[in-house]
Amino acid sequence: KLTNSHAHGGSHSSGSGSTLLGYIGIDTIIEQMRKKTMKTGFDFNIMVVGHSGLGKSTLVNTLFKSQVSRKSAGWARDDKIPKTVDIKAVSHVLEEGGVKMKLTVVDTPGFGDQINNDNCWEPISKYINEQYEKFLKEEVNITRKKRIPDTRVHCCLYFISPTGHSLRQLDVEFMKRLSHSVNIIPVIAKADTMTIEERQDFKQRVRKELEMGGIEFYPQKEFDEDMEDKSDNDKIREAMPFAVVGSDKEYQVNGKRVLGRKTAWGIVEVENPNHCEFAQLRDFLIRSHLQDLKEVTHNIHYETYRAKRLNENGAVLALLCPPSPTNEIYLMFPRPFYVSFCIYNIVCVHRPAY
């Protein structure tokens, strides 16, 4: 019986039609990968952007069920609003079920708080590109580290103010400029401001405005790989932007202890899907698309940056390495194991004269 099932499995896995005569054990690679990942752990960098008072730090704390935001790391609640946009990164190591995750939360206090908010997205854009640059430098080194520390921003949560009317100009400007260098996930903050009908109206209007502005938020339509992906992602895209409420306080409701906010007329339960869409956001972000976020960042955003950099001063980079023909060619050849999209990019970069 055992051999039968394995043979069955074998006939599934062979695409070219050659049936396996016995159980080889190829499918144990998944187990091996799992063990390796558990040992090495992985990095995840999330950036939160939005003007002050939208509950960004609270939401991040609620998402990862621990005090990971900068507010908990020592900054006081009523700190003065900085005059320019600051970038503050705080790292923690979380462990669950034997899997270790190094979570870095990048906060941007001062965004959108000034009277004149022109170019307040520039420090953020600079930071993102700096992380790509760091990674690129490590990659083109001759003696590379076994595991390059990944500080690139995998996901940017953009907090939309719940005015109930439409996106603000600043929101549109920011997302337009950054949707091509990082995965942006727009989120409607403090959703307990709006009733259910107001929320639906607002979401529709925001979606329309995002479409009109040509803003591609994550999951981007162009990177859907197959029909299954497309249908899953379509469902998610219809429900975005998620209207969330964050809280790190617990209250007793119907004999259960839930995270929520207590007001004079009721308790807003954070994880109740009838009250807000926090549970959906958490499942989407952590339970189903975490790895995909990292992959899109690595395969697409980082590759775009790399191609641009190599295009502008490929000669400079070649000088960084000693004049050995193999190295130069290595820089220019397309790298294996990546999506065809980036191969297209690399081919453009290829300089036959070299």
């Binding site: 002050s52 000034q114 009277i115 100009q169 600043l170 401001t193 259910i196 007329w265 009250h275």
Partner: protein
């Protein structure tokens, strides 16, 4: 009560003695007369609302005055895309218990919505100043029977419920406007905050307001103990956290105005839920007249003294009396204006006369021209006639000539005929011979 009042009058003016009345005179009905007159005249009140879009300003106005000043079809901010801050007025006449109130709501769409909001308060300041200017001008007129009061009596400033503190824009705006108008800061959409967050937020805001020395509207102290207690209660709750709504929901078989959430109903008129009732009572029921008085006595006077001082100052003046070096009191300036007016009239008269003369000349000229033209034509016609006459004469002469010729010929023929006949006769006669 009456005794106390009288004693205060006596304290202020020790020469006044209180006389006891020996009968009923009737001047106790003075307040009634004032009341009746005021009711007939009606009241005016102008309210300005300022804040970023989406803070529920329109909803709050609707809730406060229980009218649909901003109906559901009124386009929301997403449709009113403005590049600069606009100032819009809406007037509504409300009647209640025989008392008329002309309510003007001044709205400022576009405030704080752009990416760069520097000077977004400037259109608002200009508007307030222009209203003061209008009132100043109508006060300085000769005929002052009609003095419409469109000055802004109160400015409700909406603070976004971030829970942290005031934004730089809020501070800048209030700093610039607290000397020009009564500023009442409100926390908008207060159902976002839990009671503890609300308390903390209010304390933080009051601290920042004091730190930046912003003078928000102060509730006046009264002599009455009861009222003082109420006033103190209000002062503790500043800034007021409000929620607006006009939708009616059933709660515990009671119909209340509120907002329906899946986790409960936030009632607008419940003082445990928000401070809306306090705002309404304060704004309409108790302090409306005081707001008007403060605007008139403090803000307007400030504006007026600044404006008139600019007139009399030698160096910079920014009104019509340019280049005048003398120090003038307003009366003298009025004289000057009258003289100017008279000279202007004279000039206009002269101009008119000139114009009149010119026109007369033109007409005369035209008539002369037409006369000459007629004359010319007359001559021409005469010439034509003469020519025709000559022609005709010529023809006649020719005709006469021909006729004469023809007659002559006829005679000749006749003669010939005669001659031939006589010859024939003679021949015949001769033959016989």
């Amino acid at each position: 009560m009456v005794g106390r009042r009288c004693s205060s009058v006596r304290d202020k003016n020790p020469l006044l003695q209180q006389k006891n009345l020996e009968g009923y005179v009737g001047f106790a009905s003075l307040p009634n007369q004032v009341y009746r007159k005021s009711v007939k005249r009606g009241f005016e009140f102008t309210l300005m609302v300022v804040g970023e879009s989406g803070l529920g300003k329109s909803t709050l106005i609707n809730s406060l005055f229980l009218t649909d000043l901003y109906s559901a079809e009124y386009p929301g901010p997403s449709h009113r895309i403005k590049k600069t801050v606009q100032v819009e007025q809406a007037k509504v006449l409300v009647k209640e218990g025989g008392v008329q109130l002309l309510l003007t709501i001044v709205d400022t769409p576009g405030f704080g919505d752009a990416v760069d909001n520097s000077n977004c308060w400037q259109p608002i300041i200009d508007h307030i100043d222009s209203k003061f200017e209008d009132y100043l001008n109508s006060e300085s007129r000769v005929n002052r029977r009609q003095m419409p009061d469109s000055r802004i009596h109160c400015c409700l400033y909406f603070i976004a419920p971030s829970g942290h503190g005031l934004k730089p824009l809020d501070i800048e705006f209030m700093k610039r406007l607290h000397e020009k108008v009564n500023v009442i800061p409100l926390i908008a959409k207060a159902d976002t905050l839990t009671p503890e967050e609300c308390q903390q937020f209010k304390k933080q805001i009051m601290r920042e307001i004091q730190e930046h020395k912003i003078k928000i509207y102060e509730f006046p102290e009264t002599d009455d103990e009861e009222e003082n207690k109420l006033v103190k209660k209000i002062k503790d709750k500043l800034p007021l956290a409000v929620v607006g709504s006009n939708t009616i929901i059933e709660v515990n078989s009671k119909r209340v105005r509120g907002r329906q959430y899946p986790w409960g109903v936030a009632e607008v008129e419940n003082s445990d839920h928000c401070d809306f009732t306090i705002l309404r009572d304060m704004l309409i029921r108790t302090h409306m007249q005081d707001l008007k008085d403060v605007t008139n006595n403090v803000h307007y006077e400030n504006y007026r003294s600044r404006k008139l001082a600019a007139v009399t100052y030698n160096g910079v003046d920014n009104n019509r009396a340019k280049g005048q070096l003398s120090t003038k009191s307003p009366l003298a300036q009025m004289e000057e204006e009258r003289r100017e007016h008279v000279t202007k009239m004279k000039k206009m008269e002269m101009e008119m006369e000139q114009v009149f003369e010119m026109k007369v000349k033109e007409k005369v000229q035209k008539l002369k021209d037409s006369e000459a033209e007629l004359q010319r034509r007359h001559e021409q016609m005469k010439k034509n006639l003469e020519a025709q006459h000559k022609e005709l004469e010529e023809k006649r002469r020719v005709f006469e000539e021909e006729r004469a010729n023809w007659e002559a010929q006829q005679r000749l023929e006749q003669q010939k005929l005669e001659a031939s006949r006589t010859l024939e006769k003679n021949k015949k006669k001769g033959k016989i011979f």
